[in-house]
């Protein structure tokens, strides 16, 4: 593993970002987390446009953690565009939302999300989830072991 693969977190809430960083840190993966703060920025990051125009786009994250409630473009819209783009259509996307609604889950599945994770209130649960996800896509082969929350 010459170049370190990383995870892109799309999250507008600073508190949640901090908690996510902490969870990654606890998993010894603090340096693998890149955060963008809205949907538009996420797309710029992935497609190398706008503020990320100078950014080297050849390097895609190993996984995207995508919040649904986002300023500018919401999570569904980001997911739809990611799947529509040839380069990113196979990119693993995990929806990270505080909603546990059936509709949200179904819509995510329909748009091609790889997994759906409800943001747990319990921090320990979150750490466990992060560990499982990173094991799966950051180091593993993309097969998620059973029972993601």
């Amino acid at each position: 593993m010459e170049t370190k693969r990383f995870v892109l977190l799309v999250e507008d809430s600073y508190n949640d970002e901090l908690l996510a960083r902490r969870a990654f840190k606890q998993c010894q993966l603090a340096d693998r987390l890149t955060v963008v703060h809205d949907g538009a920025e996420a797309l710029d990051f992935l497609f190398g446009t706008g503020s990320h125009a100078k950014h080297e786009t050849t390097e895609l994250p190993a996984m995207v953690l995508l919040d649904l409630k986002l300023p500018k473009l919401n999570g569904f819209e980001v997911l739809r565009r990611v799947r529509a783009n040839e380069r990113t259509q196979l990119l693993p996307v995990v929806i990270l939302s505080s909603s546990d609604e059936e509709d949200d889950r179904n819509e995510s599945k329909r748009l091609g999300a790889n997994a759906y994770l409800r943001k747990p209130v319990e921090f320990k649960e979150f750490v466990t989830a992060v560990r499982r996800l990173t094991l799966c896509w950051l180091e593993g082969d993309g097969t998620l072991d059973s029972g993601q929350k």
Binding site: N15, D16, L19, S98, K119
Partner: protein, 993 residues
């Protein structure tokens, strides 16, 4: 015999002659040889040459054979011996003695003769051989020519024969067939060669065909026989066949047959035979159905049908209707009764009736075309429809059908047309006879049974032709007596002239019928009045054929009429008054008319009608006088008035002047002398007075006249009373209408208010729905948005605890734990809230739900969670209700979970699920004997997050019953509970369907 001898003699003579010539020639050859020798001897000095002699021998032998040769040689030898002698000049030239020379000559001659003879014989043999060969060749050529000719003859006979010619091998397979045969059967030669002759025969014909085949194989064929075969197209063909064995070198190798198509002949013969009896049979039947059966039989003979129908145009209902309809059910021909036949005649029959015959002949197919219908009948793919004609007019349709394809062809159609043509006349006759008979029966029934007296008459002379019993009864004569009489004889003498005139008009055609009231003179010379209608019946040519008179006895009526006439006369006046008292005009106008009538009727100077009003009588109307000259009001106590009013009887006053010195009216001025008056009485109550005044003294006013006047007065009284009533009613009506109008306005107001109210309710409902929706959306979004901060509180508290725990004392750590616990609690609460809001947003699908089964399942699960507990469960089985299964499960789960939870401290817990059949619909309940509740809080039970027990006592969030209520409300039902602390609780709900 004699001749034969002659010819033999001639032959031998000819032989003899030719033989003789040879020998003469042999002698003759000697002479030239001697001459030549002599010439040679003299001219050439050739003494020795024997050459001429040898030449002579050679010639002679060549010409006549060895015998003449020898003769020549001998002659030469003899002659030369004498004449030339000089034998030394013999060819050798040597000096030989004469005998030797002679011998030499003879030997030489012999040699020549031998050689020539041998040569001759060889040549003759060769010639004979050549001749023989030539002869042979010739003969062969001749034979060949003969053979060719024969072959050609045969081939042409085979190929161009109009009859079918074919051969069969010993197995019965076809080997050859001529074009006619192929055309006849419809198969190609290649196909035919795969078939045996039996394939063409129907089962019954097959045995016959086999028999003939075997006869041929035994070389004893019958001269001919007839056979019916079926062609490839399914057409049946009658054949006239002669055949025999094919022999090759005396051995039978096959069978040939020549077949002539005699279908047409057979058919026409059958047709002729069938027709020959048809006419006779048809003439003996009287009903169309019987005729139909006969035609059906004939058609069966001719066409072999499976279905048959005869339809005739009915003159009664003007359409084609079934006469006979036969179909084959399960192989049996069955007549279908008209009312069981398929409704309506097929459109096809109608078409045929209008446009002419039709043949439905679908091409034959290999598959069995039979279509078996449910009732066992079959469809007929082959059908023929022909119209039945009578004198260029279609009177019906005949059809036959077959349950297989290709059963009929154009020829059959023609035959069927011929049959229907043949039957047309007979059917028409039968139908006409039937109609006639029916008419006659109908007429007879009508004639006899009608209530009126009827008779038929000769138009001229009026002799009775027929009378019905009623007529006999009316006239008093017997039927026999009447038939000898004329109409005139039974007519009353006074009516005879009128009757005669009417009859004259009738016969002249001025009228078609007439009606008169007349009298008959009965046998006992009494008279009876009748109302007679007389009608003339004309025949087809328009000539009068008979007259029908129909009479009703009106004797009683006549008597009544006479009585009436008298009373009519008497009451004419009253009637005219009564008629006058009808109308819409004001009562004054009406009464003026009445007064005029009365005045005219009695021929008086004036007529006055006054009405009682209080203590006076008011002038209502008057005739004959101007209203102005009369006093409008009179006191009732005047002498004239008081008598009428008090005694209530009509009065007659001959002299008004004598009545009083001071009369109420100035009668003398008005020129009124006599008076008659009557009270206007209604139900014995006086309402006024009618009076008539004569301008001259009248003495003879009788009691009857007074009575009549009273009757008139009564009518007038009634009219006035009626008018009053009418006026009152009119008033009442107006009042009523006013009331109705008011009422309607009120109703309209109410209606308007109602509509407004409904609108307001609708608006309010919509507002409420909107508010509810907003509330739901709010709850949803709050629940979600609350989570974010909560997550931060929880997350960072945990981070604090993780990283700074060492710096905190025990109290600090304890606080942190409490914060973390509170976060979890709140998370759960938010979950519940979301859950609750989701229930209201969820789509509902109503379908039958077995509540009993649901409850059983839930209780079984609960029992598994705490197997140690002793709980008596009682579920009423079979409670099924249309509802959303998912929601109902959640509701029941909550109720039963509660029951389970709140009975946790009971030693013997009881949980029951059941239904009470209430008048308003079934009420379901979950009952337990658990902790119960205080009824004071019963209305708070179902509120969200309401708890009646501490969490220590019974854990929970107080969301369960709120959930239940929401679910039941969504089904349009109601929830309530009854309980007592410590004694358990019952939770009720309804589910209106």
């Amino acid at each position: 015999m004699c001749r034969r001898n002659e010819s033999e003699d001639l032959l031998s003579f000819k032989q003899l002659k030719s033989e003789g010539i040879k020998y003469v020639a042999a002698v003759a050859f000697v002479a030239p040889a001697l001459l030549l020798r002599w010439w040679m001897n003299r001219e050439l000095e050739l003494q020795t040459s024997f050459v001429p002699f040898f030449l002579a021998v050679l010639a002679s032998t060549s010409f006549g054979g060895w015998k003449p040769g020898c003769l020549t040689a001998f002659l030469i030898a003899a002659i030369a011996d004498y004449s030339f002698i000089d034998w030394n000049h013999l060819p050798t030239g040597a000096d030989l003695d004469y005998p030797v020379k002679l011998l030499v000559f003879l030997a030489g001659s012999a040699c020549i003769i031998g050689v020539i003879e041998a040569q001759r014989r060889a040549r003759r043999a060769a010639e004979a051989l050549v001749r023989q060969l030539q002869l042979q060749i010739e003969r062969q050529q001749q034979t060949e020519a003969q053979l060719t000719a024969s072959e050609e003859r045969y081939r042409s006979l085979f190929e161009n024969n109009l009859d079918a010619v074919f051969t069969l091998d010993l197995e019965g397979f076809f080997t050859t067939a001529n074009p006619s045969a192929l055309k006849l059967c419809g198969y190609s030669l290649a196909e035919l060669q795969q078939m045996r002759f039996t394939a063409f025969c129907s089962p019954e014909q097959c045995e016959e065909a086999k028999r003939h085949f075997q006869l041929c194989l035994r070389d004893e064929p019958e001269p001919f026989f007839e056979l019916r075969i079926a062609t490839k197209e399914g057409r049946s063909v009658d054949l006239f066949i002669s055949g025999g064995p094919i022999k090759l070198k005396g051995k039978i190798v096959g069978v040939y047959a020549i077949a002539a198509d005699v279908t047409e002949r057979t058919r026409s013969q059958t047709l002729l035979t069938a027709f020959s009896q048809l006419g006779q049979r048809l003439s003996s039947v009287t009903t169309p159905v019987a005729a139909g059966r006969i035609i059906g039989d004939v058609a069966e003979e001719l066409f072999g049908w499976d279905s048959f129908s005869l339809n005739l145009y009915s003159l009664e209902n003007k359409q084609i209707s079934y006469v006979l309809n036969v179909d084959t059910f399960n192989g049996e021909k069955t007549e279908i009764l008209p009312f069981l036949s398929a409704p309506g005649i097929p459109a096809l029959a109608h078409r045929v009736f209008r446009n002419g015959a039709e043949l439905i002949a679908p091409p034959p197919t290999d598959v069995d075309e039979k279509v078996r219908l449910v009732d066992g009948a079959e469809r007929s793919p082959s059908r023929m429809f022909v119209p039945i004609r009578e004198k260029e007019k279609n009177i019906g349709v005949l059809s036959v059908g077959r349950f297989r394809t290709g059963a009929y062809d154009e020829q059959d159609l023609k035959a069927l047309e011929a049959l229907s043509e043949y039957c047309g006349g007979a059917l028409q006759r039968i139908r006409a006879e039937g109609a006639l008979r029916r008419n006659e029966e109908d007429y007879r029934a009508l004639f006899d049974s009608d209530g009126s007296a009827k008779c038929q008459l000769e138009p001229v002379g009026g002799r009775f032709l027929r009378v019905n019993p009623k007529f006999c009864e009316l006239t008093g004569y017997s039927e026999r007596e009447l038939l000898g009489k004329t109409f005139r004889e039974v007519t009353h003498p006074e009516d005879r002239e009128t009757s005669r005139q009417n009859f004259e008009k009738l016969l002249l055609g001025e009228v078609n019928d007439f009606r008169m009231e007349k009298r008959y003179e009965r046998k006992d010379k009494t008279t009876c009045w009748v109302d007679t209608t007389v009608t003339l019946i004309r025949d087809a040519e328009g000539l009068p054929s008979r007259v029908i008179a129909s009479s009703v006895d009106i004797t009683d009526r006549k008597a009544a009429e006479e009585a009436l006439a008298i009373s009519n006369q008497r009451l004419a006046l009253i009637a005219s008054v009564a008629n006058a008292v009808v109308g819409d005009e004001p009562i004054e106008e009406q009464m003026r008319t009445v007064a005029e009538t009365v005045r005219a009727a009695y021929g008086t100077k004036a007529c006055i009608i006054r009405v009682l009003e209080g203590e006076e009588v008011r002038l209502l109307s008057c005739a004959g006088l101007s209203q102005e000259v009369l006093k409008p009001r009179l006191p009732i106590n005047g002498r004239l008035m008081s008598k009428i009013l008090n005694e209530r009887v009509p009065v007659f006053v001959p002299d008004l002047q004598a009545l009083s010195a001071q009369p109420a009216e100035p009668y003398n001025v008005l020129g009124l002398v006599s008076y008659a008056g009557a009270p206007l009485l209604v139900h014995d109550k006086i309402i006024g007075v009618v009076g008539i005044f004569y301008g001259e003294p009248v003495r003879n006013f009788s009691a009857t006249d007074l009575q009549q006047l009273q009757i008139i007065a009564n009518h007038i009284a009634v009219a006035i009373a009626n008018d009053r009533l009418f006026q009152e009613v009119k008033l009442q009506k107006a009042v009523l209408q006013e009331q109705v109008h008011e009422r309607r306005e009120i109703e309209e107001e109410v209606q308007k208010l109602n509509t407004e109210l409904e609108l307001r309710v609708l608006e309010r409902t919509r507002e409420l729905q909107l508010a509810n929706g907003e509330l739901e959306a709010f709850a949803y979004s709050v629940s979600h948005d609350l989570r974010g901060p909560l997550r931060s509180v929880g997350g960072f508290t945990e981070a604090l605890k993780d990283e700074y725990e060492q710096r905190l004392d025990e109290q600090g750590t304890e606080y942190l734990n409490r914060v973390i616990m509170a976060c979890r609690e709140m998370d759960k609460l938010i979950d519940d809230m979301l859950h609750l809001s989701r229930l209201t947003r969820m789509d509902m699908k109503r379908q039958p739900v077995n509540l009993s089964a649901l409850a059983e399942g839930i209780l079984a699960n609960l029992r598994e969670t705490e197997p140690g507990r002793e709980v008596v469960m009682n579920v009423t089985p079979g409670l099924v209700v249309p509802a959303d299964a998912r929601l109902l499960r959640i509701a029941l789960e909550n109720l039963l979970n509660n029951a389970w939870k709140f009975t946790g401290r009971k030693k013997l817990a009881k949980i029951e699920f059941g239904m009470d059949p209430e008048p308003g619909g079934p009420v379901y309940f979950v009952r337990d004997n658990g902790a119960g509740f205080d009824m004071e809080f019963a209305d708070k039970l179902f509120g969200a997050f309401q708890r009646l027990h501490s969490t220590q006592e019974f854990p929970g969030h107080g969301i369960g019953l709120a959930t239940v209520q929401r679910i039941i409300n969504r089904h349009g039902g109601r929830t309530w509970a009854i309980g007592e602390v410590g004694c358990g609780a019952t939770f009720y709900f309804t589910l209106p369907s």
